[in-house]
């Protein structure tokens, strides 16, 4: 069996997985994959989260990608990071930077097997803040400065490519370089609140071609989270596994312990089980009928006859699902334009998100996930 086949048929344990630790967030990014804002009261407790970590350790999962919400607003966040590392599970966490104090940056400089990703979706405050909220650019840049000053090397500057920032890739690269960081560029998914803004925010086809050209010139110096394999027909695969790993080599655990096929698929259709079920995470991973279905998927559906199917593999399942396209058809961003044709041809019924934790009105102060954070850390002075 070819190596790629082993991966598409699923491994006994994920290589890595995404774990959204909380739906609480002090920002309200318009494209949030998990529709975060308010904490879910059913969130996993500290001891439940530690038990999950121990299980991942037994399964030899190499690392977890921790996100949210803003994961650092959990009071036990650093304790959980410590617990993961102590159990041999590496941690990469994504943050908007609001809790990266100078003290925390110094701690991170000495922590082994912990990787920080600062999210920034514009190389200028105007472009970033339009998507991530007023002041979020300054917060991220301040956090990056603190990490660099503390001697944290090679942390990640994580950018979601949009119509408004793809012409800023060189600038992002400059920001990363000046902080001793590495640039990571990933694909905008129409998931969560992203479903509502995808039409106007996702790069147009000309921009996608340019994005591909830019990335292929960078080799593996710019990370992509393997998220652009749908662009491979432009001229070959970018570095990475180049396959959809959903339920096969990756998955998502959400804040209440629900296990989904991938981080971009928080919807009943892709729900495999819950870590609170009897067999824990391992049983969900090994026995879920959804994952069995994903691991046995054959053929290319409407794309089967396409000469490029071997390179793009039909693209991203979640991108299709949340734009109302059939899962066995072309990706909405198919480089041959079949996705755009399909989007135009059918009345679109976009599936609603399963759980919307967006804040709809101002909350009382005591409920704030950022209560207790010094104001200076939230809104850095200019």
């Amino acid at each position: 069996m070819r190596l790629a086949e082993h991966f598409s048929r699923g491994l006994d344990a994920p290589i890595c997985l995404t774990w959204e630790l909380t739906y609480a967030c002090n920002l309200a990014c318009v494209h949030c994959l998990s529709s975060s804002g308010r904490r879910d009261p059913r969130e996993l407790s500290t001891s439940e989260a530690k038990a999950v970590i121990e299980e991942l350790s037994r399964m030899q999962v190499f690392y977890v990608n921790i996100g949210g919400g803003e994961p650092t607003v959990r009071r036990d966040f650093w304790e959980l990071v410590d617990h993961a590392v102590a159990n041999g599970v590496g941690v990469k966490f994504s943050t908007n930077g609001s809790r990266i104090t100078p003290e925390r940056a110094s701690w991170l400089a000495t922590a082994g097997r912990v990787d920080v990703q600062i999210s920034l979706d514009g190389a200028t405050a105007a472009v970033n803040d339009a998507v991530r909220g007023t002041g979020s650019y300054a917060t991220a840049i301040t956090a990056m400065g603190r990490l660099a000053d503390a001697g944290v090397r090679n942390f990640k500057l994580s950018v979601v490519a949009t119509r408004h920032n793809v012409d800023q890739l060189d600038e992002f690269e400059g920001i990363a370089r000046s902080h001793g960081a590495q640039l990571r560029v990933t694909r905008l998914r129409p998931s969560g609140r992203g479903a509502a803004v995808w039409d106007e925010l996702h790069p147009n086809s000309e921009q996608q071609r340019e994005l591909y050209r830019w990335l292929s010139g960078r080799g593996d110096t710019v990370l992509t989270g393997d998220s652009f394999f749908h662009l491979a027909p432009y001229g070959g695969s970018l570095p990475g596994l180049n396959l959809c790993g959903a339920g096969r080599v990756v998955c998502l655990i959400d804040p209440v312990g629900d296990v989904y096929a991938c981080p971009f698929a928080i919807h009943e259709r892709f729900l495999a089980g819950n870590v609170r079920d009897g067999g824990g995470f391992a049983a969900v991973w090994r026995e879920s009928s959804l994952f069995a279905e994903l691991r046995s998927a054959e053929g290319g559906g409407a794309c089967a006859g396409c000469a490029f199917h071997d390179s793009c593999r039909g693209g991203c399942m979640a991108a299709k699902f949340f734009t109302g396209l059939p899962l066995d058809g072309p990706d909405p961003e198919c480089v041959l334009g079949h996705g755009e044709d399909a989007l135009r041809a059918r009345p679109r019924t976009v599936p609603a998100a399963r759980a919307d934790h967006s804040r709809t009105r101002p909350r009382p102060c005591e409920d704030s996930p950022v209560a207790g954070i010094p104001a200076a850390d939230l809104v850095p002075s200019a």
Partner: protein, 92 residues
């Protein structure tokens, strides 16, 4: 980034690499470089695990009855050395 492979030298799996057995061989993850590598045969996994117990890579290969001088095992060890997955070691 890594050292150039020499079959006569002493080698071992890098300290920051975790090796996970798989039906096809093993996955190796390097926590320093964040790189994932595939060890595409159980024989290769055996050799990599044995490296640290022998005075040279050649001896480790001989002990397992495989040719480490050329062919797929040599090529795989060269790749693993280039990417820092296996590292030179001072023989005990």
């Amino acid at each position: 980034m890594g050292a150039s492979f020499d079959v006569a030298g002493a080698w071992s799996l890098a300290e920051s690499v975790a090796l996970r057995p798989e039906p096809f061989g093993a996955l190796a993850y390097h926590y320093g470089t964040r790189r994932l590598s595939f060890l595409k045969s159980p024989v290769l996994v055996g050799v990599v695990r044995a490296l640290g117990e022998h005075p040279s890579a050649r001896d480790a290969c001989r002990a397992l009855g495989v040719d480490g001088e050329r062919g797929p095992i040599f090529e795989a060890l060269t790749t693993l050395a280039d990417s820092g997955m296996i590292v030179p070691r001072v023989p005990a």
